[in-house]
């Protein structure tokens, strides 16, 4: 388990440690089974190409789940992912590396909660942001839980 992150350790502009994923067709099939999304563009190359796609593409929700993992890995067990928002802008082909990244945009205390807002995104090997979004987490404070 990653070490615990505290509100006091976070600064605006700080980068979240990236999470690298390599979604193979096999992983997409596992995701299809686990999520219930059996749309063929995610595992049947002929079908995908017949709809005009260059090949099998990763599920948008899998990318969103990778981004959720980016956040839960970072905040540690005592932190809580409160909200996440993701837009599926670009397609990621199966077999292409995907890097989940993020940056702190704001930290503030509200109703006694130590909150941090981040911009997050997935990036393909050409540096294009294929799924940008944002997240809000609540963190532990060294001053004790409020």
């Amino acid at each position: 388990m990653a070490k615990q992150l505290y509100y006091e350790d976070v600064e605006e502009g700080m980068e979240i440690p990236p999470l690298v994923k390599n979604p193979t067709t096999q992983q997409l099939v596992k995701w299809a089974g686990a999520s219930g999304d059996y749309y063929q563009i995610h595992y049947d190359k002929d079908f995908a190409q017949s709809t005009g796609l260059p090949g099998v593409i990763a599920h948008g929700r899998l990318k969103s789940s990778f981004l959720a993992q980016l956040m839960t890995d970072w905040i540690g067990e005592g932190g809580t992912l409160k909200k996440i928002s993701v837009q599926h802008r670009g397609m990621d082909l199966a077999g292409e590396q995907m890097t989940c990244k993020g940056r702190v945009t704001r930290k503030y205390i509200e109703n006694g909660e130590h909150l941090v807002e981040c911009e997050i995104w997935t990036e393909n090997p050409r540096g294009e942001k294929t799924a940008p979004g944002s997240a809000i987490v609540s963190l532990l404070s060294r001053g004790g839980k409020s």
């Binding site: 686990a34 929700r61 969103s64 959720a68 909200k83 599926h88």
Partner: protein, 151 residues
Amino acid sequence: MAEQIITDEIRAAIGMQSEPAVIEIEKGMIKKFAEAVEDPNPLWQDEEYARNARYGGIVAPPGFFMTVMMRGERVEFPFQLPFTRVLDGGGEWEFLKPIRPGDVLTVVNRFADIFEREGRTGKMVFMVTETTWRNQRNEVVARGKSTLINY
């Protein structure tokens, strides 16, 4: 002049809700999900670890709510859109309470909005669905808002 796709009749359907769907959360579903994401966090998978951790047992990772099996019944629309292709445009989710194996969730979807945009390949229609998940104690455990793009 292109014809209007979103008619008053379609707009009148905004606010329609799905039938509630009941989903029993099983440990195996959570484990399968974590394995599919390749998320090794022991809070989702390791019973012994999780028992001594924050939640006192395994909980589902937030991404669990994003899956089709957690989306519940569809809203039965009284109309059809003139498109054959659909893309998942993304969404936003708010996680209010942890969910555990044994929880019984009730999911309701609500048709929240519809609008059109001009895309690279012509008109695209965006449909927004709001989803609410409640547990067996009638507490709202999560809320979601997702967009499907028809083109």
